[in-house]
Symmetry: C2
């Protein structure tokens, strides 16, 4: 049975790394002593060691140890033995490229589907969608494919941003970008605002946090859904 928290962001404004999620992570990882951390999104180019240390500092608050996947000589075995998994944010292209290079995409998928508790934030949430094609990240490396884990039956746009009122910037809004995606693709997209997350328990996908999420379906007007909605029912 799937058991995941898939969050828009690791950090909310004014907060510390993961702090707003910690009570929920205590529940998610209630039977986990050590979380296997996938650091390959490497935000700002940060090293895997430094990023793992950052995750460890946050998880100490709920009494969990954290080990980086990059420290194992056999990553498939490490994933299969993991009591819990966390993939951090950063650059989705880099993360996906590395998961393909290491040939662990399928193993990661199977473990999540089989119920290993999983936390994703930002890029680590993006990869739970069907494809990574609604990421906000720069294509800093050319991955072998844009296909991702398909834990969710739709794509995500984390850090979803509404158009800024009175903006003088002429670059595309997030909504326009997703419209461009839908001019070539028919996958549903959920725009997940910061401080929102999805909780997966088996087949139920609940929107959590205080905010609504924005749903984009091909050839339909986008609409908002309220917290606690089961997203499985609306796509």
């Amino acid at each position: 049975m799937k058991n995941c928290i898939i969050a828009s962001t690791s950090t909310i404004y004014g907060g510390k790394y993961l702090d707003y999620l910690l009570p929920h992570l205590s529940d998610l990882y209630s039977h986990t002593n050590e979380v296997l951390f996938i650091p390959y999104a490497q935000p700002g180019g940060m090293s895997c060691d430094a990023y793992t240390q950052k995750a460890l500092e946050a998880f100490k608050h709920i009494g969990k140890n954290v080990v980086g996947l990059h420290t194992f000589s056999n990553p498939v075995e490490a994933l299969n033995k993991a009591e819990g998994i966390f993939t951090g944010g950063g650059n989705t292209f880099r993360l996906v490229n590395e998961l393909y290079k290491m040939d662990v995409m399928q193993t990661l998928r199977e473990n999540i589907l089989n119920g290993t508790p999983y936390l994703g934030t930002s890029a680590g949430s993006n990869i739970c969608g069907l494809t990574m094609q609604t990421t906000n990240d720069m294509p800093i490396v050319y991955p072998p494919s844009f296909k991702t884990l398909g834990i969710l039956p739709f794509n995500l746009n984390p850090h979803y941003l509404d158009p800024t009122p009175n903006s003088t910037h002429m670059g595309e809004t997030r909504e326009t970008r997703i419209k461009e995606f839908h001019s070539l693709n028919n996958l549903p997209v959920i725009g997940l605002r910061e401080a929102s997350w999805l909780e997966l328990k088996g087949k139920v996908i609940s929107l959590k946090g205080q905010l609504t999420a924005r749903v984009f379906l091909q050839n339909k007007d986008p609409f908002e859904v309220n917290p606690t909605t089961d997203l499985q029912t609306i796509i």
Copy 2:
């Protein structure tokens, strides 16, 4: 001799499509009656016909006809015969994918290098760089390669945005994204703000408009350059 205008944006705040560039386009296309338009970035998923019509409306003000590359059965021949070329903005992944699918990347490059006057805006400017890896666009389609025309000896980031003061958004800033690019790549990147453009005349690459541009070199602090600077000299 290269003869190009490579602009951050087609449209500046409060203005109409291309209007701020029209006097310069009169000069660029002084010996051009008909401009060949490459519409494949298809902003917002707009059709190639509608996009070509939009370009035509703007170019009427300087007495030029516009024809869409999509209307030719032999696009290589159309590019080779063109008196002037314009590639509009939109989604860079879609544009690059189409140029590869049509097998015209090399032909377009040769014509620009041989002196066919060229205008690029946004995605149409991005492709003048060495790779498209510093685009802001969503990966809505998987192109065969991220390599682009290499008319410029660096990459561009069009619509460059400074961090928003007091922003509560926790997504990466543009500068962080470019730093992530530089954690894996050593190509210089020019952050070109809206209302700025590059003028290429032979080997000289002049920054035009009223604003400074931001230069990002691997392992160096980013810095600003003033208008009229020849960017060839600083990378």
